[in-house]
């Protein structure tokens, strides 16, 4: 229970309008045009990652590093879709455990490597290992962290990299399989005795994932390294070791832009306005030349990141005031409501 961040905007929602548009068509479009293609891309990218790790598990292998980045991009592009198949068996948590406030990832990996724990050699057993030792952030430590590399045990580290990559791919395949089959069906056919009781509840889930994705970028991806003016925290930047901190924000903005436009499909003017607003944020992101937010101690560097954060907060506010009422749904509760 830490103190709430005071940077979050406290804004007032305008009364929700009665939705005049067709929920069903919108929901189907989001599922078919936004969600399924993104999870297919993700499954292909993790397959390639697994293959690259099998072919060459060296942390210096250019093919492996390339596959790591492509896979991570594809994850970020679906990371706002945190409901249904990603939440079964802790899949999303095991794909990306961050923020890691108490350093569980290096601690768990060090624990595995030091005793050459056999669980790290077997993708099946690895499913039961702490989520902190799994997924993209664990892989990043294996590929980029000097302290981990200095632990030696090269053959074990190599096998562990392969296991982590295989585990990522298995999770991604499992998510796609559920989305491609039963879960799409479930979302497309809401009924009184199902998880989603109406088309409107489905739309609410989709809208919630959109605003939550933006909230996560503003508060965690940008807010954590920003810290306060007196005390910036560049070492808290997401995936800073592989210099992906800014890239993750950009990829997520592009993915949520796609979702926002698809959700606004019945109001062309609104879709255009929202597309332009996302474009403004992306342009602000492009002005930042520091991929890992390393120079937040410099006031100029800090200002650019702060402006981007403000712009993402405004985007969220704009969506709550325009797209939410257009769809007749509210923001609801999300995992960021805690600390």
């Amino acid at each position: 229970m830490m103190i709430r961040s005071l940077t979050a905007l406290a804004f007032t929602l305008l009364p929700l309008a009665v939705a005049a548009q067709d929920h069903q068509a919108t929901n189907h479009a989001v599922i078919d045009e936004h969600i399924l293609p993104a999870f297919e891309t993700f499954a292909n990218a993790t397959e390639a990652l697994k293959t690259a790790a099998q072919a060459d598990c060296s942390a210096r292998s250019p093919e492996l590093l390339q596959a790591y980045h492509t896979g991570f991009d594809a994850w970020i592009a679906v990371s706002h879709l945190r409901f249904g198949p990603t939440e079964v068996e802790d899949r999303a948590f095991a794909l990306a455990f961050w923020p890691d406030k108490k350093g569980f990832t290096p601690k768990s990996l060090t624990g595995l490597i030091k005793v050459q724990n056999p669980d790290g050699l077997d993708p099946q057993a690895f499913k039961h290992v702490s989520i902190a030792a799994r997924g993209f952030f664990a892989l990043e430590f294996m590929l980029y962290d000097e302290a981990i590399a200095a632990l030696g045990a090269e053959a074990y580290q190599c096998a562990l990299i392969q296991t982590i990559a295989a585990d990522i791919d298995a999770n991604s395949d499992a998510i796609l399989a559920e989305w491609a089959g039963p879960f799409s069906q479930l979302m497309k056919t809401p009924s009184e005795d199902a998880i989603y009781r109406s088309e409107s509840e489905v739309t609410q889930e989709l809208f919630k994932s959109l605003v939550t994705g933006l909230q996560f970028s503003a508060e965690a991806r940008l807010g954590r390294p920003l810290g306060t003016f007196e005390r910036p925290r560049p070492r808290r930047a997401e995936a800073r070791r592989s210099e992906r901190s800014l890239r993750n924000v950009v990829v997520s903005l592009k993915a949520t832009r796609d979702l926002a436009i698809t959700l606004a499909r019945e109001d062309e003017a609104l879709a255009v306005t929202l597309g332009a607003a996302f474009g403004d944020s992306l342009a602000l992101a492009e002005r930042i030349k520091d991929p890992a937010f390393a120079d937040l101690n410099d006031p100029q560097g800090r200002l650019k990141v702060e402006i981007l954060q403000q712009s993402v907060n405004l985007l969220r506010e704009q969506l709550n005031q325009t797209l939410g009422p257009h769809l007749g749904v509210g923001e609801g509760f999300n995992a960021l409501d805690g600390d």
Binding site: S5, T12, L13, L16, A20, G332, F333, N334, D337
Partner: protein
């Protein structure tokens, strides 16, 4: 306040809706009355804790340490039931970090085991050990800690260097000073600090017994004064109560925000599921005292209290009145039944964790990798909390429709006009 308001606050109630507004005002009265009673009980039990701590420090013995621990455990019962007031009520949210901050890097306060680790990426003061050090540097400033006072803890040490894990005050700091680290890993057993850590003179263990006693005394006094302040905010004319009266709809929204945010993001996510996924025995809320099963249970009960408009005080008397349940029932009886059923299901699941823990199956054992029975128990609670949040969202949607019906404005007839 992190959460946006869920319900419209810009509502012009028509004459036909006057009765509805009066009904909502009564519901909010009950809500504020429960807050006043629960914070008041937290204060009373904290004073009992303070008396026990004073007696223990004056005369350290195993019996007196046990009495102080028992008083701490009792004080948690009413306090946990107030947590549902955190989210939504800015006055509580801005304050609660002083009394209930968690998780903490306890090495800031006192000695820790060698396996605890050193300064981390996130916190270079993780092993500062104020009890052992009368002077040290913090964010480039020399700090004189020769005298450990409530002021030093609250103003200098708490969240030192802007790091939330630097918890110097509140229940969990006191808990650490009474129990010490729980070094049993995934096995049963709580922290096992000896009363001799407080003996003044040669028999002192752990070193600096005078400073440890001063720390415990100061932290307990601070808890009492913080709770005095918060209890006053819910009395007639207090700021917490007054803020609710500004708009009935916003007040109802605050109630639902607190219920949903505590259920979902905080309790189901941060406190329960995360610990399970990390398999870490210290990822439990009351980790020194092994009291996590109660912490979860009374958090859940607080959510149910707010919905039903009922709270049983520590002296056994019942505080009750017109409730959110009544309000929902008059809009949609089926939805009210759904909410009540789900709250009961959650309480049964949390009750199972509590009864298993009380019978000897400690919460940190439940978190161990491969412990399927423990995982099932904890996930039962998590699933109940997630499921009840869905219904809270349905209530938000339902009441929102009610509000809009009162209004009959542009937003109904011409949805885009409102935003022009």
């Amino acid at each position: 306040m992190k959460r946006a308001l869920l319900l419209s606050t810009a509502i012009c109630l028509g004459a036909s809706a006057q009765a509805k507004a009066a009904e909502m005002a009564e519901v909010l009265d009950t809500y504020a009355n429960i807050a006043e009673a629960a914070f008041g009980d937290s204060l009373t039990t904290a004073k009992t804790l303070q008396a026990s701590v004073d007696a223990f420090v004056a005369e350290p013995s195993a019996e007196n340490l046990q009495a102080a621990r028992a008083a701490w455990l009792a004080s948690r019962v009413p306090y946990q039931q107030t947590e549902v007031y955190r989210f939504g009520n800015a006055i509580v949210d801005d304050w609660e970090g002083k009394v209930n901050a968690w998780p903490l890097d306890e090495g800031l306060i006192d000695y820790v085991d060698g396996g605890y680790g050193g300064p981390s990426d996130e916190n270079e003061h993780a092993v500062l050990n104020v009890v052992a050090n009368p002077g040290f540097t913090l964010s480039g400033k020399e700090i004189d800690a020769s005298e450990i006072t409530p002021k030093l803890l609250a103003e200098t040490l708490h969240e030192a260097d802007g790091i939330e894990a630097n918890v110097a005050t509140g229940y969990h700091a006191i808990e650490f000073l009474l129990w010490g680290q729980d070094l049993n890993g995934h096995s049963a057993g709580a922290g096992n600090r000896s009363y001799t850590d407080y003996i003044q003179g040669d028999a002192c263990t752990g070193g600096n017994c005078d400073r440890r006693a001063a720390y415990l005394t100061a932290a307990t006094a601070l808890l009492v004064s913080d709770l005095e302040w918060m209890t006053a905010q819910w009395a007639d004319g207090g700021a917490g109560r007054t803020a609710l009266g500004e708009s009935e709809a916003a007040g109802i929204s605050t109630m639902l925000t607190g219920m949903g945010s505590l259920s979902y993001g905080e309790q189901a996510g941060e406190r329960m599921r995360l610990g399970l996924m990390l398999n870490d025995p210290e990822e439990e809320h009351d980790c020194f005292s092994d009291n996590t099963h109660n912490s979860h249970y009374y958090d859940g009960l607080g959510v149910q209290n707010v919905y039903l408009g009922e709270y049983v005080r520590v002296d056994g008397t019942l505080v009750s009145g017109p409730s959110l349940s009544d309000l929902v029932a008059s809009a949609d009886a089926g939805l009210d039944t759904e909410m009540k059923t789900k709250l009961s299901t959650t309480m049964m699941s949390l009750g199972r964790i509590k009864s298993a823990a009380e019978a000897g199956f400690a919460y940190d054992q439940m978190l161990e990798q491969g412990n399927t029975a423990g995982e099932a128990l904890v996930m039962g609670g998590v699933n109940g909390l997630i499921d009840q949040t869905k219904t809270i969202e349905r209530i938000v949607a339902k009441l929102e429709i009610e509000q809009i019906e009162f209004e009959g404005s542009d937003s109904l007839d011409n949805p885009t006009a409102v935003f022009e």
